[in-house]
């Protein structure tokens, strides 16, 4: 396997370098020295393949550490260096709204949060240009949208950690997104919009389109239905009712609420089918599909799971264009490498870890499970059994890959996931298709939208009824407490060993 997927090993080493730097925090001098030594060693031993390979892999590891270090270094006028947060003093910040506004109902009124790209700062000691990104909590309506230039006054604080759970640190989570401060803007604070449309034009378009799609869904669906369909179509899970979300979590099917390979695959399939109705040559169809997928990634907020799926789909389609076979593991590695280049801290994002682990175990385990257990008998009965068997194989492979991490992060083990996915995945596939139909009808032919709404309503009720029934199965889920990480590490070491054995047997069978 490793011989045929060298890029996978390189990306793993790159990721280990990023993780190592986060843990060891070596200074820049050490990183540069180590990288140079390893690169020189690879050059010296160039004619000895095994030795050069080892040094190259270690060099990639050092490269990952160096890249991660340099990514997190700020310019001199970054807000991190300009201000010492003090709850008592009021500061004035000028910047551009860099994200959509999120509204949350509180006990008294509402809280609106958004990210701000800082351009200027005024404190008691300093007034002048500044850079960086902060999170703004506004307890009044700021009257701004994405891309507006605003001036706000408030109190600057460091993000706080409410949770006693050491696995989740809100401060670390924001720090990994480059946010070191929160600005609290009270009801009576100064807020002024000084200019409009200062954001990136492409992103502005995506935000506008996203809002338009949200409005179509809100106009036709009930609040709970809107929350679910908004999540599976445009990647915003903020409106899913907590009680409903809990049912999905306790049956291990919460993954269908996050846009990932399933949804991207459906979107790609829909686009290809629709393009085949038009007089577009095959090459053009694949290129347009890749373009639309890139747009879809933008509309859904470019989360790691969506980027991963879109890159893999893009590599797969490119394989058709250049008439080359694609390799799942290499495609996955490309997706991981791209995401880590864009933001090395994505490695620590739970969504990134779950998304890549699940796909990796599907790629590694699924062929062997199918070959061993589900060849099936010829005839219609055999075909149906093979289909169910293959679905089971995918579900089991994915569950095996993420069970350890889910137990560690969320303190829950859901053996019933394997069964639940057999119901949820096909229903969710049809729901996603109907959802896109609803959006299209909402734009092109609004009078037709009620037929799609009725179908969505019936299917969604069926889905929720089904998973609620599955949740009641004894032993469907149980709560665990995994405090140190070593049991999880042991689980993945055993899984990796099993993976190597399975892959070696597969290779031997192929050679025979």
């Amino acid at each position: 396997m490793l011989r045929h997927c060298p890029f996978f090993v390189l990306v793993v080493c790159f990721g280990l370098g990023i993780a190592g730097q986060d843990w060891l925090r070596w200074p820049i001098g050490v990183l540069i020295f180590v990288s140079l030594i390893l690169s020189l060693a690879a050059l010296v031993f160039f004619r000895r393949p095994e030795v050069a390979t080892v040094f190259l892999l270690m060099g990639f590891m050092a490269g990952g550490a160096l890249y991660s270090f340099s990514y997190q270094k700020f310019p001199a006028h970054h807000i991190y260096y300009r201000v010492a947060p003090d709850r008592r003093s009021v500061v004035q910040v000028q910047g551009v709204v860099a994200s959509e506004l999120r509204k949350k109902e509180m006990f008294r009124g509402q809280k609106i949060s958004f990210e701000l790209d800082v351009r200027g700062l005024k404190t008691g000691d300093f007034e002048g240009p500044a850079a960086g990104r902060i999170l703004v909590y506004c307890y009044r309506d700021p009257g701004c949208v994405y891309g507006d230039e605003v001036t706000l006054s408030g109190r600057l604080v460091r993000p706080y950690d409410f949770s006693r759970n050491p696995k989740f640190s809100y401060r670390k989570y924001l720090r990994r997104r480059g946010i070191y401060f929160i600005l609290n803007v009270k009801k009576d604070s100064f807020v002024r919009v000084t200019a409009r449309h200062r954001g990136h034009p492409l992103r502005q378009g995506m935000v506008t389109l996203r809002q338009r799609l949200r409005d179509i869904l809100k106009d036709h669906l009930s609040p709970a239905e809107y929350g679910v369909m908004q999540a599976v179509l445009i990647g915003d899970r903020s409106a899913i009712p907590p009680a409903l979300h809990r049912i999905f979590v306790q049956t291990g099917t919460a993954h269908v609420l996050a846009i990932s390979g399933l949804h991207v695959g459906i979107v790609a399939g829909l686009i290809v089918v629709l393009l085949r109705l038009l007089p577009v040559p095959v090459t053009g169809q694949y290129l347009l599909t890749m373009l639309f997928l890139a747009g879809y990634v933008g509309v859904t907020g470019a989360r790691p799971s969506v980027v991963r799926a879109a890159v893999m789909a893009g590599v797969f389609l490119s394989g058709f264009l250049v008439e080359r076979e694609t390799d799942g593991l290499n495609s996955l590695s490309w997706a991981a490498f791209l995401i880590l280049l864009l933001n090395p801290n994505a490695l620590f994002d739970i969504g990134f870890q779950l998304s890549f682990l699940s796909v990796m175990t599907i790629i590694l385990f699924y062929p062997s499970i199918v070959r061993r257990f589900f060849h099936g008998a010829p005839g219609k009965g055999g075909k149906a059994a093979r289909l169910i068997g293959r679905s089971f194989a995918v579900s089991f492979s994915a569950w095996a890959g993420v069970a350890g991490l889910i137990a560690y992060y969320f303190d829950i083990v859901t053996p019933v996931t394997i069964l639940a996915n057999l119901l949820v995945v096909p229903l969710m596939t049809i729901l996603v298709v109907l959802g896109f139909g609803l959006l299209a009808a909402g734009v092109i032919a609004p009078p037709m939208a009620h037929t799609f709404v009725a179908c969505v309503r019936v299917l969604l009720s069926l889905l929720v009824f089904g998973i609620q029934a599955i949740r009641r199965i004894p032993g469907a889920c149980f709560f665990v407490r995994v405090e140190p990480f070593w049991p999880i590490l042991l689980y993945y070491l055993v899984l990796s060993a099993f993976c190597l054995v399975v892959s070696r047997r597969g290779t031997q069978k192929g050679e025979n």
Binding site: G437, V453, A454, V458
Partner: protein, 115 residues
């Protein structure tokens, strides 16, 4: 002679299925309230059930909108110090829950089986 390609047939068949089944479903949902009640199952499940202030675990308390980890801990502390809540209105005595916040939480809590 009119004929459709495989893709065209697939798209037209799917569209006609959605239009016909959707119209039928829409009619029955609008016309018959029992059907509407069955089909609006998602909404019914999404409403959080009332939580027993004296019996709920911290995880169950956190299912109430507005009660996070800190408030759940304070409610548990209050239960331990005072032997439980005699009425839902006693929630106002918990630090961080005043009269106004209590109005917000009242629809989601109960004592025993009584709201």
């Amino acid at each position: 002679m009119l004929s459709f390609t495989r893709q065209e047939r697939l798209v037209l068949l799917s569209l006609s299925l959605v239009l016909s089944l959707g119209s039928i479903a829409h009619y029955f949902i609008q016309r018959f309230s029992p059907v509407r009640r069955v089909v609006c199952f998602t909404e019914a499940v999404s409403r959080p059930p009332r939580v027993d202030l004296n019996g709920a675990t911290p995880e169950q308390l956190r299912t109430v909108p507005g009660i996070g980890e800190v408030l759940a801990r304070r409610i548990e502390d209050y239960r331990r110090e005072h032997g439980g809540f005699e009425a839902c209105a006693d929630l106002k005595k918990v630090t961080g829950i005043g009269p106004r916040n209590y109005e917000y939480l009242a629809p989601f809590v109960m004592i025993g089986q009584q709201p």
